[in-house]
């Protein structure tokens, strides 16, 4: 399966989503690779830093580009046992290629209006192309007006979104450069929904 993590806006939690989702998939017995297509190379830095501190990630993080993304399509598109999670930059043609090859696109966004605008643009392009996707709300704060407004906006637009949310937790930020412990900060639910959605799609 190819799961592309895309949002036209930066700083919404794409890399964290890629690493945490890959961790959940690996723990569930999937053969997982993360493709880092972002020139900022945050996912690669995460993996390198973890390895150097003796706390290596349990899956490879591979610097990738348009050619390797296309190759992934041939190797594992539609394969339930092998997952490639593609961490995308917020622009560049590799992002469009990652969209094209994906079995599913996850669109992380915070509840901030600037992030939501770009999430909706991303989602509408995906929807118009008939690509299976879901918006993932990150850094949420429970029982706030902003979260309620965001959820009602998702409903009003008929957008596809995860029931699971990633709450705003300081501890999550500090996992950069480390492998995750037992707590996946809500990504366990994201993985279960992703897996169910992909299985239903067969």
């Amino acid at each position: 399966m190819i799961i592309s993590i895309i949002n036209l806006k930066g700083g919404v939690g794409k890399t964290t989503t890629a690493i945490a989702l890959a961790t959940a998939a690996q723990r569930d017995g999937k053969d997982v690779e993360v493709y880092d297509t972002d020139p900022q190379s945050s996912a690669s830095l995460w993996a390198m830093s973890a390895e150097e501190s003796g706390d290596a990630l349990p899956f490879p993080v591979i610097p990738a580009n348009i050619a390797t993304v296309r190759a992934a399509e041939r190797k594992c598109k539609g394969d339930q046992a092998k997952w490639v999670v593609i961490d995308c930059p917020p622009n560049g043609h590799v992002m469009d290629e990652a969209m094209r090859v994906a079995d599913m696109v996850i669109v992380p966004t915070t509840t901030g209006p600037a992030d939501m605008v770009k999430a909706f643009e991303t989602a509408e392009t995906l929807s118009s192309r008939g690509i299976y996707y879901a918006i993932l709300m990150t850094r949420t704060v429970a029982r706030t007006l902003t979260l309620r407004q965001s959820l009602s906006e998702l409903e009003e637009r008929g957008a596809s979104y995860f029931d699971a949310q990633i709450p705003n937790r300081e501890a999550l930020k500090n996992f950069f450069g480390n492998s995750f412990g037992d707590d996946l900060f809500g990504y366990e639910g994201v993985y279960e929904e992703t897996k169910e959605g992909l299985e239903d799609g067969d």
């Binding site: 895309i6 036209l8 622009n91 560049g92 043609h93 992002m95 469009d96 969209m99 209006p113 939501m116 605008v117 770009k118 909706f120 643009e121 991303t122 509408e124 392009t125 929807s127 118009s128 192309r129 902003t146 407004q149 906006e153």
Partner: protein, 80 residues
């Protein structure tokens, strides 16, 4: 002063067929910024054209540059 309550606005523009189509790439990136100009057309005689072209070629400049510099020199002088 009363506290202003923000109005939440999340209207997305019309989606493009491609993700990159949603990004505004005009005048972005690492291209050399070029000032937008106006095109001015005027007539000269054949003799003037030949003379201007020859002068510009002798001095390693384009005809446009020669004319612009000439105009700037004229306009910057206090009296001529």
């Amino acid at each position: 002063m009363a506290t202003k309550k923000p109005v939440r606005r999340v209207a997305a523009s019309r989606p493009s067929d491609t993700l990159m189509g949603n990004q505004d790439l005009r005048h972005k990136g690492d291209s050399t910024a070029r000032k937008k100009g106006k095109c001015v057309t005027f007539w000269v005689t054949d003799e003037q054209k030949q003379a201007i072209s020859a002068y510009a070629a002798d001095h390693g400049m384009t005809v446009s540059r020669l004319i612009i510099e000439g105009l700037e020199m004229r306009m910057n002088r206090k009296s001529i």
